[in-house]
Symmetry: C2
Subunit: 278 residues, 2 copies
């Protein structure tokens, strides 16, 4: 039933001209993603889920994937009972009222601690982005032994590489050129609530440069660079949901910019000397 509905919806847009200015953007949850375990072959799992949801990959499609299942498949689980906190971690744990072993892992995953206060630890992750707790996660982690509460999940070691490897496998299987975007939910300066942001990409442009483009009146555009990957990350995160009825993978048709063979998340990181808020 589900399958028939999505198939009919997608058939309408299939094979039509790309980047048409009235092409809708369609974001669909993939059904049937099982619990991911370390070592799982995500490419095969995604291909099954696509088939199960009734979606045939086309050129220019994008899959947006929650970092959790990438991290899990890559075995980035750590048991806190195995961690000996450093003196620095113990001090920081007092200030932030967090588990010192957890803080130790955050420090190992980070370049710099930016802000602390009770309940909050904001760092610059080794990969460059600013986020709470270096993106280390307690939820959705099923322990392999011992107390489930002792297991935490680190971000993928190299999310761009994870995205690239997955893209290559899916492109080979489907015979289509696609994009992969790995996302997480981050808090923000100034504004409440979390939004989806990219932490890794392949094929999907991070920034799109509109310099020289003209607006409706022929003025050159004031805004020159759009964070297209982050805009897509936020839109996909909206339907992914955080709760049990969601799905960690969203299929995207109608992304309005060309894909690129070479794209890296790093272009979304504001260099320190251009950042007035770090």
């Amino acid at each position: 039933m589900e399958r028939i509905r999505l198939e009919s919806a997608l058939r309408v847009f299939r094979g039509q001209e790309r980047n048409h200015n009235l092409m809708p953007l369609i974001l669909s949850l993939l059904a049937g993603i099982p619990m991911i375990q370390p070592g799982d072959d995500l490419a095969s799992i995604l291909l099954s889920a696509l088939a199960n949801t009734g979606i045939l990959l086309e050129d220019h499609d994008i899959l947006v994937i929650a970092q959790k299942i990438i991290s899990k498949a890559e075995g980035r689980l750590v048991n806190l009972t195995q961690i000996v906190p450093s003196r620095e971690a113990i001090e920081l744990a007092k200030v932030t009222e967090k588990d010192a072993r957890f803080v130790e892992l955050v420090l190992r995953e980070s370049k710099t601690v930016l802000r602390t206060r009770p309940g909050t630890l904001i760092v610059e992750h080794k990969n460059g982005f600013v986020c709470a707790n270096a993106g280390i996660d307690h939820s959705n982690v099923s322990g392999m032994w011992g107390n489930p509460d002792d297991w935490v999940l680190l971000l993928p070691e190299n999310p761009d590489e994870s995205a690239k490897s997955l893209r290559k496998k899916l492109e080979d299987a489907a015979g289509k050129k696609i994009g992969i975007l790995i996302i997480d939910s981050h808090g923000r300066a100034w504004r409440m609530g979390t939004v989806g942001v990219s932490i890794g990409c392949s094929g999907v442009p991070g920034l799109v440069d509109l310099r020289g483009a003209k607006d409706l009146f022929g003025y050159s555009l004031r805004i020159t660079q759009v964070a297209a990957a982050d805009e897509l990350a936020a839109g996909a995160s909206l339907i992914m949901g955080q709760a049990a009825e969601g799905s960690p993978v969203v299929h995207v048709r109608g992304f309005p910019y060309p894909l690129r063979e070479s794209s890296i998340m790093q272009e979304l990181i504001r260099p320190l000397d251009q950042d007035l808020f770090r």
Copy 2:
């Protein structure tokens, strides 16, 4: 042709159960929005554009609207030759290398200046959000007299009220309950590029509280509040584009959360005492 295609696509989803977990999110540009002039009746213009695009409003649909056309319709155009800069504006204009009359307007629209450097002026707008130049815009402004370069466009005086008034008119005309989201493009701390964010809303929840919701493993969620309106703003901004081939209005079907009779943008503003980056 365009019309037939969108109609067929949308027909598939019409009248189906809301909030179904596999309901796709469909974002479509509205075709045929003319140049907006001060005093224009936006509600009528949007109804024509919906008809022109082949979209029949349904309960739970949302229209995402670029602030420019709201501001323009509300006559928020100012001619810089009419502005006498204060001493403070003149000083700030030197530091930021901007037109002192423009800086004067930015100050009048702001509560606080947060950061300055050559080319950059970041403020807390009267309405609470942090952005460059108080959201005052040079592009897309057609002057009514004199040199077009002298005309700038301020943000709507009260974007929530603008959204509410538009929503009521469209709901009365269509007989459906919908949401209205007014968005702008903002730069961010830490990350490059702009993203769409909400500056006013009616019907659309700013924050969605997931406290108490369980994830796939039955854990309570670590992330409790999702900035749903901002996630939608970013997704819609992606296809709106900044350039001539875009459109300032996006129709949304499949928003995954219930709409609210009462919603205000203010819930997305982080209170000063909870903001570590202001």
